[in-house]
Symmetry: C2
């Protein structure tokens, strides 16, 4: 049985990977590990760089994800710089930037990068579309979860407990990864 190591502290991500990949005969294990983050405009580049770095360190197949919130009227801000912007201006700063703004559309984007030793990473993407609320609400999750309302909902992601919140993430990225791995093993 092949093993893939998911480099993440987020157990829900590990469960998603298990759900998609174990039926194909892959075992998913998990470690938490700091990886360098480059300055890039998209989560795809950030996840690829981190996956390759971790893969070279561990010398085994790894998964690494990166995600960000992209607000259309702010040209994608806060984007890939979630941690820095959360630590400085935070949700209150984002809400202030959105005061009296009509176009409140935004999306969360996640990139999952898979890398094998000696190979370049391949990436699979997931998106949640929605809008920025005018105030903070909720107690689950962190950061932008408290100000982002997914399409079709009336309340922010932060109002949904973990198990419900993860369901907003399409499992398509993991399904595509599974298809990819199946193809390379045939």
């Amino acid at each position: 049985m092949e093993t893939i190591t998911y480099v993440t502290g987020n157990l829900a991500k590990v469960e998603s990977a298990k759900h998609a990949l174990e039926p194909l005969g892959f075992e998913i294990d998990n470690i938490k590990m700091e990886t360098p983050e480059i300055q890039a405009e998209d989560v795809v580049e950030v996840s690829k760089y981190s996956a390759k770095w971790a893969c070279e360190k561990l010398n085994k197949p790894v998964l690494k994800n990166d995600s960000g919130l992209f607000v259309n009227v702010l040209k994608g801000f806060p984007g890939v710089y979630t941690h820095y912007i959360e630590d400085t201006i935070g949700e209150d700063g984002l809400l202030k930037l959105m005061e009296n703004v009509n176009d409140r559309t935004a999306y969360f984007k996640e990139s999952i990068a898979y890398c094998e030793p000696g190979a370049e990473p391949v990436v699979f993407e997931g998106i949640i579309r929605g809008k920025i609320d005018t105030k903070k609400s909720g107690i689950y999750g962190w950061s932008w979860d408290f100000v982002f309302i997914p399409d079709g909902e009336e309340k922010t992601l932060g109002c949904f407990p973990d198990e419900e919140r993860w369901e907003f993430w399409s499992q398509d990225a993991y399904k595509e990864l599974a298809e990819y791995l199946k193809g390379t093993r045939e």
Copy 2:
């Protein structure tokens, strides 16, 4: 005569280096070159990483600078992410974040990193203290220059032509670099 290569597109920086280092017998040449920028909280780390990278590429002694605007009440935002934040929320976004804010103090910080082949970079720092205006003004420079008023002045950096604007930067960092080089050559 030893030559140091300043990796920058900013000719005023090259002049500052020449002014401090030529009397010591160093020649300063200059190239423009893209270098990778890491995600870090301070310009010191960014300039060190870029200097080392350029030094290894060119295999000769290099200077590399990085600078950022740090607004105290915003915990240092926009900080090292000048290009990204300028390209997204811009000066208008920064002014909006500062609406109805009393503590408007801020500082520009520059880090100059010097790196010789096979060695670790050494850094020298310069700071301009001042405050964030309530509106944009000026036609010189770019970005935060239009909203930053240096201490002792009534108008933004953007209101000062190049030659005057550069004078706000203390030449201390270059003087310290000169002292350092002098010390290592004795």
